[in-house]
């Protein structure tokens, strides 16, 4: 258990896994410590690079000074996303889209959501108005109401299939079975659906979504696309599993379900961390550490009544000082000030000088001023900073 690694990544979300995989590719020994499954599992699985603009890269260049995207050179952002596309293609959940251009997909409410890269199962989700869209739902399925979609799109129809199980995960597991797919395809052919696209909640399989998607298209001769659902979200699970398995295949070690109990520091160097285990203290040592614990929802930051602190290393956190200014009046309005909270880093993704852990690198939404909700840049920022921090870390280890 006294493992010693080149790099130890704390946090197993998008940014942590991206960093870990990047380091593995560079031939480093890596371990990932995670308290549990990340927020990625609950996400739509789509990669939002920067919403609210048509050209994400141009939008990034116009972001206010201090945003973490600013620490990553444009070439590196592009490289990071190409790297991501390669990994997901290897993991048999290929993504469509280009970082140069945003696209819009249909949400379970029938509204449109801007995003950038989407799984192939959502490739045809772009609604170009007027075209017929047929919505398929499943009997007893909660949290997916075709009526919402039909109210907002013009030319639609709907049918309901009885899959014998009423959870998205249960239905997805059914789709893994070939006989079930045949029954489903036959049923679709019997529905006499007018020409146009067919959409269904994201339930096309857990492990082999690509082959299920292709198989359905082949059996019915129709164009399908998935609509991401509320959690539990299959596209999120697929994305997480793909990244996790990519890491395992590259020899990365996982300490899953493990919380950090204490950190061993020697001057400006972090030597190791110990994990909360029921008995003996478990130590994980590393030459370098990457902190990718995320923001409030992932538990990387914790807000008290008037203060915000960082939960693993107790790094100094930047946050708007007076609680009065933390929130906007309207909960649903974008850009609550508290979103700016995080750890300030320098251009090499180390925490700012006065903390000065030489072998610590940060990535993802724990970095101050990332404002992921405001800018709509969650996964994109995670990929870009994860990749860049790993590069910086790699240079340090050498």
């Amino acid at each position: 258990m006294n493992g010693t690694y080149d790099a130890v990544v704390i946090g197993g979300g998008m940014s942590g896994l991206t960093a870990a995989i990047t380091l593995c590719n560079a031939g480093k020994t890596v371990s990932v410590i995670s308290k549990g499954d990340p927020v990625c599992c609950l996400s739509t699985g789509c990669i939002d690079v920067l919403n609210g603009t048509e050209r994400p890269l141009k939008g990034i260049s116009e972001l206010p000074f201090g945003h973490p995207y600013g620490f990553v050179a444009e070439d590196l952002i592009i490289e990071a996303h190409e790297h991501f596309l390669k990994i997901v293609a290897e993991g048999k959940i290929p993504y469509t889209g280009s970082i140069h251009e945003n696209r819009q997909i249909i949400t379970p409410l029938g509204t449109k959501k801007t995003t950038c890269l989407v799984p192939k199962t959502m490739e045809y989700s772009e609604y170009d108005g007027g075209d017929y869209v047929h919505v398929i739902s499943f009997k007893g399925l909660k949290d997916f109401y075709p009526t919402y979609i039909m109210m907002r799109l013009e030319n639609t129809g709907c049918s309901v299939f009885d899959a014998g199980i009423s959870s998205t995960i249960g239905i997805a597991e059914q789709f893994e079975d070939e006989h079930f797919r045949q029954t489903f395809a036959d049923w679709i052919l019997r529905q006499n659906i007018p020409d146009g696209k067919i959409t269904l909640p994201a339930v096309l399989g857990i492990r082999s979504s690509l082959s299920i998607y292709d198989d359905l298209s082949r059996r019915t001769g129709r164009i399908f696309f998935e609509i991401p659902t509320l959690p539990p979200s299959l596209p999120g699970i697929r994305l997480f599993n793909c990244l996790k398995n990519a890491l395992i295949a590259r020899g990365g070690q996982l300490y899953w379900g493990s919380e950090i109990a204490s950190v061993e520091k020697l001057g400006t160097i972090i030597e190791g961390v110990t994990l909360k285990n029921p008995g003996r203290v478990a130590r994980v040592q590393g030459k370098a550490f990457i902190l990718a614990t995320g923001s409030f929802i992932s538990g990387g930051l914790f807000a008290g009544m008037d203060t915000v602190h960082e939960t693993v290393l107790d790094l100094p956190v930047y946050y708007p000082e007076n609680r009065k200014f933390w929130f906007k009046e309207d909960f649903f309005s974008r850009g609550h000030e508290i979103e700016k909270a995080g750890v300030e880093v320098d251009a090499s993704f180390r925490p700012m000088a006065d903390v000065a852990f030489k072998n610590l690198f940060l990535c993802g939404s724990i970095i101050a001023r990332s404002e992921v909700m405001k800018y709509g840049c969650g996964h994109g920022l995670a990929i870009a900073t994860g990749y860049a921090a790993a590069r910086s870390c790699e240079g340090f280890i050498k």
Partner: protein, 398 residues
């Protein structure tokens, strides 16, 4: 009263990881049967609990939960409560005492092995609630217990208690002996003291009294050795989980903490000794392609995947690590007729993934996993210790 449930934010990460929820529509998943229902149990209100027994206690939800709500623990406590309030079925009573059963059967092993294959006897077994989709494991007369209880010099610096567990003892004593011989040839003094079942099957069948009795018995024996400077080593991951987490947790055994601090997984232990410089092993090549099925309880131990780390030293091995699926058998869970369908479906899912790797054989730390997966996939299944033995036998004169 356990207040862990208050940590739950209902994010559904546990649902995403629950194997039973995927294939059994009757089970509402760990969120609803764990933290959600606990709110009602709190004030003595009766919650609808009959589905509580459908949980297989694989602990995947516990590993996945990022907020420390411990759904599996909440459910287990409720299962025990259910066991106390309801009349437990014959099969539950039988399986709580798998240890005694094994003890009896091993005495007349050749006869029982014959009897089990007779159709009429099978029918009686099915009638009493034992599932019939698996061929029951063969019992052995020459159990580990009846063989040499210690090996190696009294003067050895490393002294080890080997906790072999019921499956190795009654069904695969050959693996137990290999481990004993490996240890002694490494210069350890190995003792195999009198020991009873770890208590996990009793807990799984709702019998906390029996479980506690067994745990106390083991604890009194193990503590005596630990005080004399022995380390406890286990090879069965479920026994290990029970001894490190269960004894000091749910069973509240006094010396539980001491046992947890001195108990090691076999591969974790060897890695530790290699790190400490105590061992310098010369691994010989084993030419094989292995599909390594990670048992759920190994994940729950929070020690990473030590066999993967250790086997990096063995030349010629190609290991595919698969940790996304539960084998479905979950100890005695799948041997109960009521759970047969769930277990079978999960087993098919897991073995399909293993077959797709194109490996020569399956490797798994847990005897139950091996039993289920080798029968459902038709591939041979081996214990990691056997591979280790193969790699070391020529250099260690075994």
């Amino acid at each position: 009263m356990n207040f862990d449930f208050q940590h739950c934010i209902r994010c559904t990460v546990c649902l995403e990881n629950c194997p039973v929820f995927r294939v059994n529509p009757d089970f509402p998943g760990p969120k609803q049967s764990g933290p959600d229902s606990q709110r009602f149990r709190f004030d003595g209100e009766t919650s609808v609990d009959q589905w509580i027994v459908l949980c297989s206690q694989c602990k995947r939800c516990e590993v996945a939960c990022p907020y420390g709500a411990n759904p599996a623990d909440i459910i287990l406590r409720e299962q025990l409560d259910y066991g106390r309030k309801h009349c437990r079925s014959l099969v539950n009573r039988l399986f709580s005492n798998v240890y005694l059963l094994g003890k009896l059967i091993s005495l007349i092993a050749p006869i029982v092995n014959k009897l089990i294959s007779i159709k009429f006897i099978r029918r009686i077994m099915i009638f009493s609630g034992i599932s019939d989709y698996l061929v029951l494991p063969k019992y052995r007369f020459h159990t580990i217990k009846r063989s040499w209880p210690w090996k190696g010099s009294r003067k050895s610096k490393r002294r080890v208690v080997f906790f072999y567990g019921c499956y190795l003892n009654y069904n695969r004593p050959d693996i137990g002996r290999k481990i004993r011989d490996l240890f002694s040839s490494m210069g350890f003094r190995v003792v195999l003291p009198r020991q009873v079942c770890c208590g996990l099957p009793a807990l799984g069948n709702g019998d906390s009294a029996t479980a506690r009795r067994m745990a106390k018995r083991n604890a009194s024996i193990l503590v005596k050795y630990i005080d004399k400077g022995y380390d406890v080593v286990y090879s069965c991951t479920s026994c290990g989980l029970m001894m490190t987490k269960g004894y000091q947790g749910i069973l509240e055994i006094e010396s539980g903490k001491k046992i947890a601090e001195n108990t090691y997984n076999i591969h974790e232990y060897l890695l530790k000794l290699i790190d400490e410089g105590f061992l310098d092993l010369e691994f010989k090549a084993v030419e094989a392609k292995i599909a390594y099925h990670i048992p759920c309880h190994l994940r729950a131990l929070g020690i990473g995947y030590p066999a993967v780390m250790l086997f990096k030293h063995i030349p010629g091995l190609e290991i595919n690590v698969l940790d996304d699926s539960c084998c479905g058998l979950a100890g005695t869970y799948g041997f109960r007729k009521k759970n047969q369908e769930t277990s079978y479906k999960l087993g098919v899912i897991a073995s399909k993934a293993l077959k797709e790797t194109g490996a020569d054989f399956i490797m798994a730390d847990c005897g139950a996993c091996r039993l289920q997966l080798s029968q459902l996939s038709g591939m041979p299944a081996r214990d990691p210790a056997e591979i280790l033995f193969d790699s070391l036998k020529s250099t260690m004169n075994l």
